[in-house]
Amino acid sequence: MSDNQSARLATLVALAEKQPRLGRTAVMKLCYFLQTLRNVPLGYRFTLYSYGPFDAGVLSDLSTAEAFGGIESKTVLYSGGYGYEISPAGRRRSVKSLGSGFIKKHGSDLQWVVEQFGNFGSADLELLSTIVYVDRESAQAKARRTPDELAERVHEVKPHFTKPYVRQKVAHLQELKMLRSLRAASGNR
């Protein structure tokens, strides 16, 4: 197993320890935030889907972490739908030890991401991560947007949210200084 994969497995176990009954969507988005907002080098390649940034590699690593006994995943059925709950398992220490150096180095980032985003529901995490994705794409293309323009672009991708709700989430991330492409509404491009 490569060092990078060991680090990723250890990260997944650490997240499961910090946030009990973590959902699979939450794991995906927390990994995205760690990599994008905190520059934690997990090595995933996220692509934007209608349900937010996604990399099948995260699910693949969850599967390996489960095979190694570091986590356990349970399917939870509820009215109209289902989800997956991820919890630490018996061999969590052993799996975490594979990437102990990495966890030590990025422990504060893991704590931060759980504190900032751990309590959001799946729909909000999908929306928040989509906002960050669109923002980073704009920043990379050196395109500056007002918060309303950014919200408009996000709404094109996720039209099932109302525009005021998208704007509210953009404002939330702006307040936390997590967005890079924003310009003032009256400023020049």
């Binding site: 080098p41 692509t47 209608s50 095979a67 399917t75």
Partner: protein, 478 residues
């Protein structure tokens, strides 16, 4: 060559026929009526055609061993005729798999057409069954649906246009993006080729007057961009659990190599795929299947598993992938492919299987080129179970230590492009009340499936006996 209305014509590959769409609809001769739309088009020489008065509404049919006939229109044909797309005729779908399965000689060209065809069938079925949901949750109207149907067709057609020679086998040699460790992918090359080499063919065709597409819209659905807007919903048809790519390659690869592992009930599956609201939590709609089609979905997942273990991750095929990668390293300037940017993109497009095979044949690909010619491949000496636990991982490390420098390569199923990964698919039941459950709740086989994370170790054939001896000795010591 001039085509008269209704006349079938043979093209360069002998498998393309053309006829006027109007003929198909009402059997009439329509030359006079449609002459209003005729315009002269100078074809590239790639298709072997001369200057041709061309009707933008003409339809063409291409024979396909999997789907029968695949219909394309004039716009799509203009794109297909571009050198960047024709290059796919010279890129094999399965690299050197023919050294195990001799008939594995098919190319990315026919697969790309097949993916476009399959994606269209899926799209039409989803719109028919889930039209209301798409209208309510993604604000589609009829025009929007017609527009995105075209977008999905073109994205599916072009999704593989950025492949390197021998498809996935040489992707390790893609250059790094920026200063980090992240490398470009074939999707990045596809998107760059669409935005550059194919821009004019996409944007300037008269039929684009109906959609106003920019090449960027199509590139975004394949690459990482957000220009596709709400159409990112359809990305799952291009790259997802039940995408058209996977459906086509499993059946096509099985057909060509003569195995049955990859076959499943495609028609049933297509009729079962729907858009479903994911849950009460107001998350985005997602692709899933109706309850009646769960066996077809189960068969797709199992087909993928069988094809992975029997074909894509077959120990000998993997060995040839290693030799090919090393041979390519010798052949490529700087040991890597040119970047998908500027002048380097044009250089990249000059690389195809023919060029590589020519250089290997001339003896310029070093030791690994020679091994390919002589079929003297590395030998698998040890493998972990398909689902490797931490105990298996420890044993692997012990074996590696025993073998020492005899190990010439280590390959992991997790790194394979064809890796099996997540297998769950949402299933919508409407018995009594609408309810969504994962496929694993219906299928015990799927419930029991774990991701294949097998690791293979290779040695030189000359060292096999010594390597076996060391492994045996290690086991006796335990």
């Amino acid at each position: 060559m001039h085509l008269s209305p209704g006349r079938h014509a043979d093209f360069d590959d002998g498998c393309l026929t053309a006829h006027m769409a109007q003929d198909a609809m009402d059997g009439s001769s329509c030359g006079t009526e449609l002459s209003l739309f005729l315009r002269p088009v100078v074809y590239s020489s790639v298709g072997g055609l001369e200057e041709l008065a061309r009707d933008t509404h003409r339809k063409y049919e291409i024979r396909c061993p999997v789907h029968g006939f695949i219909q394309i229109d004039d716009w799509e044909r203009q794109i297909i005729d571009q050198p960047a797309f024709q290059r796919l005729r010279r890129i094999r779908q399965l690299a050197f798999t023919d050294l195990l399965y001799p008939a594995a000689m098919h190319t990315r060209f026919e697969h790309s057409l097949g993916v476009m065809h399959t994606a269209t069938l899926l799209y039409d079925s989803i719109v028919q069954k889930s039209g209301e949901l798409l209208k309510q949750q993604l604000a589609y109207d009829q025009d929007g649906l017609a527009r995105d149907r075209r977008l999905v067709r073109l994205a599916a057609l072009l999704h593989d246009v950025g492949h390197a020679p021998f498809s996935h086998s040489s992707e390790d040699l893609f250059p790094k993006r920026g200063r980090g460790n992240e490398k470009f992918t074939h999707e990045d090359y596809s998107a760059a080729i669409i935005r550059n080499e194919l821009r004019s063919a996409i944007e300037d065709h008269p039929l684009n007057g109906n959609t106003g597409f920019k090449a960027d819209n199509i590139a975004a659905l394949i690459g990482k961009g957000t220009e596709a807007g709400r159409a990112v919903f359809w990305r799952d048809l291009i790259n997802g659990q039940m995408d058209a790519d996977r459906m086509d390659y499993l059946i096509r690869d099985s057909h060509h190599i003569g195995v049955h592992y990859g076959k499943f009930d495609l028609r049933r599956l297509i009729l079962s795929v729907i858009a479903i609201p994911r849950d009460k939590d107001d998350r985005s709609p997602q692709l899933g299947i109706e309850e009646g089609g769960w066996h077809a979905a189960e068969a797709l997942v199992l087909a993928r598993y069988f094809m992975f273990t029997q074909v894509y991750f077959h120990k000998t095929r993997v060995a040839y992938d290693i030799h090919l990668r090393e041979a390519m390293k010798t052949l490529l300037p700087l040991g890597r492919f040119p970047k998908p940017e500027g002048a380097e993109l044009k250089e990249f497009l000059k690389w195809d299987d023919w060029r590589v095979l020519g250089l290997i044949g001339k003896g310029r690909a070093g030791e690994h080129g020679r091994r390919i010619i002589e079929r003297n491949h590395f030998r698998e000496i040890y493998h972990t179970p398909e689902v490797c636990s931490d105990k298996d991982d420890r044993e692997l490390r012990i074996v590696k230590a025993k073998l020492g420098k005899l190990v010439v390569a280590q390959e992991s199923a997790k790194k394979s492009w064809y890796k099996t990964g997540n297998t769950d698919i949402p299933v919508l039941s409407k018995v009594r009340r609408p309810r969504v459950q994962p496929l694993s709740k219906y299928s015990k086989a799927i419930e029991g499936m774990k991701e294949n994370n097998q690791v293979l170790l290779y040695v030189d054939g000359a060292d096999r006996e010594e390597a076996e001896k060391r492994i045996r000795k290690g086991r006796q010591q335990k």
